[in-house]
């Protein structure tokens, strides 16, 4: 199905078309280790597998219902996710984890999305079902499991999908206790595909991929769906294998001639810090890498130039850098490019900047250009207090409107009213998403300067200080109450995580401080898988607070 503009109406329309027109073309390659471990699917093989699974889902009666996808990175996820799209089943991609805190989040999501079934592999089911069953049972919640062993009946027909209906729910970095599921429609997907295509100048057959997880918006929409929409090839590897040895990502790009590959800033930093001179990179050729997208956490110019310098000898072109801005709430892409522009910054006068004013200066604060705003989207800079549209030289909240903006958060009418249906003053008849990010627009380019929400982004993960503070306060010698402050600070251009924790006077006098620190570190690691760069133990009443008892994080930074 193509519409009057010659564009596909649904992502699956595109994939069906390619299965007919280029059946032997490789659609996906999944490689765990060396090249010999690669598993491939052609468009024909992909559509056959997707059709079978879609019919199974229809046969089992899951149309219009939510189904969780709990898969380790692999081709199974691709097939089953697309099967959901084809069958009109609402996909809820989740992270497979054995960590107790993460499992708790998984349970919360299963309940929030009213998940009727879990699509997974037999192995993963065995690994998780006991723990999940225990947790779910406690809430007397019945959920079915669908694995490769679940048999269906091919004698069902596939439905017609309304473009405005829900395609999937992307759970975003809400806190553990309160996950936020972004409702993404089939329309949203296609609109964002077109935006990415334009920004990156992608052509039919484009090769895209890397190490990003499949259950995350950047990995799912950018790496997986986009090349399939373009009749290209999706190349991918397990994220853990990248973390273990970052050079594997670069080898993947080089071997498969990947044109677009994205990573949060820390991925590039990993390559700079952890690819040693001892590694054999002799056959590495990165000249194929046209678009090196950097997004989802603040983009560091320092990291980019170190990366470019280190890998120039292997054909990496610094102009391929493509700082980008986006989020699950806008399906993915908001701004970036045009491609081959590289990294650019503006330098602003420091004093006015802290007051929210943009004044160019010779020296001062450098802000990275996050690229051109997608043509199909409207971005406004708005005063978050008065909701009045800001002047050109003023920092305000970034508001986004357009067909890529999702329907809202599931089961959250209050937040949807305030954050997805915001009206700017003077009114312009559009509904806006309030991103919670601060920034400004200069010559049509978007610059992001910070966040309104109290959210910490550390090494590519969004953390809520409140969650971690709660863990610290639960430690036996903590003074409890409001006696911990978790915050980030910048050192050598890196975001570091610190905590100040008030310890009961008696324990502070009698217990070993190193022991206390270690206890807290391991407690925090167990629950959040994050390590503090700095940890300060103090007497009760030391943490700077406002009159209303709120922790003053900026004053805490001064203490550290």
């Amino acid at each position: 199905m193509v519409n009057s503009k010659g564009k596909y109406v649904l992502l699956m329309d595109a994939i069906k078309d390619y299965a007919n027109n280029q059946p032997e073309h490789t659609a996906c390659v999944f490689q765990t280790r060396g090249i010999e471990t690669a598993k491939k699917l052609t468009y024909q093989e992909l559509i056959l597998a997707v059709n079978t699974r879609a019919k199974l889902l229809i046969y089992l009666g899951y149309q219009h219902k939510s189904v969780a996808l709990l898969y380790p990175t692999g081709l199974d996820f691709v097939i089953n996710f697309l099967a959901c799209l084809l069958a009109g089943v609402i996909a809820v991609p989740l992270n497979v984890t054995r960590n107790a805190k993460q499992l708790e989040r998984t349970i919360n999501i299963i309940e929030d999305a009213n998940v009727q079934a879990i699509l997974t592999t037999e192995d993963t089911k065995i690994m998780l079902s006991e723990q999940l069953a225990e947790l779910l049972l406690a809430d007397s919640y019945a959920v079915a499991w669908i694995t490769e062993n679940t048999a269906g009946n091919d004698n069902v027909s596939l439905p017609n999908i309304k473009p405005s209906s829900l395609a999937f729910i992307q759970y975003t970095s809400g806190s553990t206790s309160n996950p936020k599921g972004v409702m993404v429609s089939h329309d949203n997907v296609v609109n964002n595909m077109e935006a990415i295509k334009q920004a990156c100048s992608n052509k039919h057959g484009v090769v895209i991929g890397g190490w990003l997880p499949q259950f995350h918006d950047m990995g799912l929409v950018g790496h997986m769906l986009h090349p399939l929409y373009m009749g290209g090839t999706y190349i991918f590897m397990p994220p853990m294998n990248f973390i273990q040895r970052p050079s594997r990502w670069l080898h993947l790009i080089s071997h498969y001639k990947i044109e677009c590959s994205a990573s949060p800033n820390f991925g590039f930093e990993h390559c700079v810090n952890l690819i040693s001179d001892k590694e054999d990179l002799s056959d590495l050729d990165l000249s194929c890498w046209r678009v090196a997208l950097n997004g989802s956490e603040p983009v560091s110019e320092t990291t980019m130039s170190a990366f470019a310098e280190k890998f120039a000898a292997y054909g990496f072109n610094a102009n391929s850098f493509f700082p980008t801005y986006g989020m699950a709430e806008t399906t993915l892409f908001v701004s970036g490019g045009p491609h081959s522009r590289g990294v650019s910054t503006v330098t602003l006068d420091k004093e006015p900047f802290t007051q929210g004013k943009i004044i160019d200066a010779e020296t001062g604060i450098d802000i990275v250009n996050c690229g051109a705003i997608a043509a199909s989207l409207t971005v406004k800079i708005v005063n978050p207090e008065t909701l009045v549209s800001c002047n050109d030289n003023t920092i305000g909240e970034i508001w986004v409107s357009g067909s890529s903006v999702a329907k809202g958060y599931l089961n959250n009418p209050i937040k949807n009213q305030s954050d997805f249906n915001a009206q700017v003053i003077p009114a312009d008849g559009k509904r806006y998403l309030r991103t919670g990010d601060l920034g400004f627009i200069k010559s049509g380019m978007l610059y992001v300067t910070g966040r309104i929400k109290e959210l910490l982004i550390v090494r590519g993960r969004n953390l809520y200080p409140y969650d971690i503070e709660r863990t610290c306060n639960s430690y036996q010698f903590s003074s409890g109450g409001n006696g911990s402050s978790v915050f980030t600070y910048q050192q050598d251009n890196k975001i570091k995580l610190a905590a100040i924790i008030e310890i009961k006077k008696r324990a502070l006098a009698t217990e070993d401080h190193v022991q206390i620190s270690n206890d807290i570190k391991s407690l925090v690691f167990m629950q959040h898988e994050i390590a503090f760069d700095k940890l300060l133990l103090v007497k009760p009443g030391t943490i700077p607070k406002t009159t209303s008892g709120k922790i003053k994080r900026s004053a805490c930074i001064d203490l550290i």
């Binding site: 273990q244 040895r245 952890l274 270690n518 570190k521 390590a531």
Partner: protein, 90 residues
């Protein structure tokens, strides 16, 4: 994994990696202290397995240091694995 390796050398390699990241780390004191207690975050847990890969010249699961979270547990697991493989092979 059916190569024969020197257990003490592997312990030293892992200890060297941890010592680079943890102030006050001592191989003798902390051989049974969990990596997370020492302050290694999850990325460091994963990268630790690359040190093992380099020494053993074989693929090692990236999650191994989560499953065997102390130097002793990790090395003993690898010794047993390699012993099992040798027995299977002979």
């Amino acid at each position: 994994m059916n190569n024969i390796f020197c257990k003490d050398t592997l312990i030293s390699k892992i200890a060297e990696y941890v010592a680079e990241r943890v102030d006050g780390f001592s191989k003798d004191l902390h051989i049974d202290t969990s990596f997370s207690r020492l302050g290694l975050d999850s990325a460091a847990h994963v990268q630790l397995t690359a040190v093992i890969e380099d020494y053993l010249q074989t693929d090692v699961s990236p999650t191994l240091a989560f499953d065997y979270p102390t130097i002793n547990a990790l090395v003993n697991y690898l010794v047993n694995e390699s012993q099992n493989n040798i027995n299977k092979a002979s």
